[in-house]
């Protein structure tokens, strides 16, 4: 077993590739996730998010490249390091005959660490003892997801890999989950969160990577990503203007003599505002794009 590189980031991949027969699931995926950050891993279904997480855990093997987790190469580091990891699978299934409590005990036992955070998580996510005493087969999808979150985080992992963590949760529980993630960050844990729910990534993540067809198309701060995206400019006029005279500033979405909507690069905003000042301007709105718009722009 190779020793851990303590200065290395908790997750580092270089040139990861994976094929399933003729299907390319991952292509040359390189990522660094820093200690203590909440990292969002975005992408549509089939983009390779789950494959990446399963490679990071050593559940499947990459065809090419290297993955290092907690400073150790996944392929040759033995298994002890997984005790520091909390994992929530995207396709969550439990043993239907076991009760929730038996499930948590079993999985904590396998982790080999005390389940110090269990009670707190159960209270915050709203899983009472009466529910835990029931077989999992009687649980709703939301209850199973809560149980999944508890099993992933109950042993206070230093790295949490959460695949679609809010799937099936109602808004109140989602809110509780976001608070739990922020607490994990305060405690110094690293959270790697895969999702296609953009508002949640926008809300809790420090950085985000966008994945498309197995390739990372963008990595950066959530804020930087937004800044890099175009702004929506909405201008209303008191008198008729020629919208075509504004066309060279950006892409016209709505063009009428008294109302113009257009997408404009951030760098072109000052020049556009100066030009609009020369026109009979009645109202001006410059909107920052939501992460969702940024996301969609990448996938157009």
């Amino acid at each position: 077993m190779k020793p851990a590189d303590l200065d290395a980031p908790p997750i580092r991949t270089r040139g990861l590739g994976k094929r399933y027969g003729p299907v390319v699931a991952l292509r040359d995926l390189s990522l660094d996730v820093a200690a203590g950050e909440v990292f969002g891993f975005l992408g549509p279904n089939g983009a390779g998010k789950t494959t990446t997480i399963r490679i990071l855990l050593g559940v499947i093997r990459a065809d090419s490249g290297e993955a290092r987790v907690l400073g150790r190469p996944v392929a040759s580091a033995g298994v002890a390091w997984r005790g520091e990891i909390g994992y929530l699978p995207g396709d969550l299934t439990f043993w239907p005959g076991l009760t929730g409590a038996e499930t948590l005990d079993f999985l904590a036992g396998l982790s080999g660490r005390p389940a110090g955070a269990r009670q707190r998580l159960l209270e915050r996510l709203g899983l009472p003892a009466s529910v835990l005493a029931r077989p999992v087969r009687t649980y709703s999808d939301g209850m199973k997801q809560k149980l999944g979150l508890v099993q992933a985080l109950q042993c206070e992992p230093s790295l949490a890999l959460l695949d679609e963590p809010t799937k099936g949760l109602d808004p109140l529980v989602q809110q509780a989950f976001y608070e739990i993630v922020l607490e994990l960050r305060r405690r110094g844990a690293t959270v790697f969160l895969s999702s296609h729910v953009l508002p949640e990534v926008e809300r809790v993540c420090d950085r985000v990577a966008m994945l498309r067809a197995g390739t990372v198309v963008s990595v950066g701060d959530v804020e930087a990503l937004r800044r890099a995206e175009r702004r929506r400019v909405i201008a209303d006029f008191d008198a008729d203007v020629d919208p075509a005279s504004l066309g060279h500033f950006g892409e016209l979405a709505v063009a009428s003599p008294r109302h113009v909507e257009m997408m404009v690069a951030q760098a072109a905003i000052p020049a556009l505002v100066a030009r609009l000042g020369l026109l009979p301007l009645a109202d001006l709105v410059v909107e920052r794009p939501s992460l969702e718009e940024a996301f969609l722009e990448h996938y157009r």
């Binding site: 399963r54 855990l57 050593g58 559940v59 499947i60 093997r61 033995g78 298994v79 002890a80 390091w81 997984r82 005790g83 990891i85 994992y87 699978p89 396709d91 969550l92 299934t93 439990f94 043993w95 005959g97 076991l98 038996e102 079993f106 999985l107 036992g109 396998l110 982790s111 080999g112 099993q151 890999l161």
Partner: protein, 266 residues
């Protein structure tokens, strides 16, 4: 440590099946001692066996001369398809459920993402397989012991059936080890069950056909049931091959299972 946790987990998943299997086996072997001690039943069976074609006797794995004795009738209890079926259920269920079953159910990710080696998963399946088979074997033999203690039969001792029960356990442990190999290759518990059941049934049929059809006699060693002959064990005791072949085949299957499971994607 993880092996112990996994063993407890498998026991919890399979314990509901173990009790009826053990009770069924114990009751069946007890019943055979009762049948053997009942003159009318014994006489009827003797006549039926004498009248039966050799192909039918081969199915019961019986030598006619031994079969008509009380000792032979008790021995039938260890070769009867009911006893074999009880053992087969455990030898198929545990290996199939442990590896392929977890993958197919989707729970393998929860286990494999923890500090649990692939070898530990194979070892845990083996421990539960062997532990269950041992319990079933003890239950079967206790049925014989209790029956013969309650109703002693002249010249028949329960101790003579101990090697029979041990060999029965060994043969099914070997099938279970092959089951672990099959399970380490499959992606669904159902697929592993189908393959292993087919292998068991095929092995049984091969042994039977090779016994009744001399032209195929040379193929008999290819069946694991060749190494389990209750009547010979009662009358002549162990033969080296009874132990060596199942142990060697089982060990080879386990080594292969470890190699395959350690390298595959889950």
């Amino acid at each position: 440590m993880s092996v112990g946790v996994l063993v407890r987990h498998h026991v919890r998943l399979h314990r509901a099946a173990l009790l009826p299997l053990a009770a069924g086996l114990a009751l069946f072997e007890w019943l055979m001692t009762f049948v053997a001690g009942e003159p009318a039943v014994s006489r009827f069976l003797s006549e039926a066996l004498r009248a039966a074609p050799p192909q039918f006797l081969a199915l019961l794995n019986q030598d006619l001369l031994v079969g008509v004795s009380a000792q032979g009738i008790v021995g039938v209890g260890y070769a009867h398809p009911f006893a074999l079926l009880m053992m087969a259920v455990w030898a198929v269920r545990v290996p199939s459920g442990a590896l392929a079953g977890e993958i197919g159910r989707g729970t393998m990710d929860l286990v494999a993402a923890r500090p649990v080696g692939r070898g530990a998963q194979v070892a845990a399946a083996l421990v539960v397989l062997l532990g269950g088979l041992l319990l079933l074997t003890i239950a079967a033999w206790l049925g014989t012991l209790v029956g013969l203690t309650m109703r002693p039969l002249a010249g028949v001792s329960a101790w003579r059936y101990l090697p029979v029960a041990a060999t029965l356990c060994l043969v099914f442990a070997c099938f279970g080890a092959i089951g672990i190999l099959v399970s380490s290759l499959a992606r669904e518990g159902g697929v592993a069950i189908a393959w292993l059941s087919g292998l068991l049934a095929g092995s049984y049929v091969l042994d039977y056909v090779a016994r009744v059809w001399p032209r195929l006699a040379a193929l008999r060693p290819a069946s694991l049931f060749r190494y389990y002959e209750p009547q010979r064990l009662v009358t002549a005791g162990f033969r080296g091959g009874d132990v060596v072949v199942p142990v060697a085949v089982g060990a080879a299957a386990l080594v292969l299972a470890l190699a395959v499971f350690a390298r595959r994607d889950l």
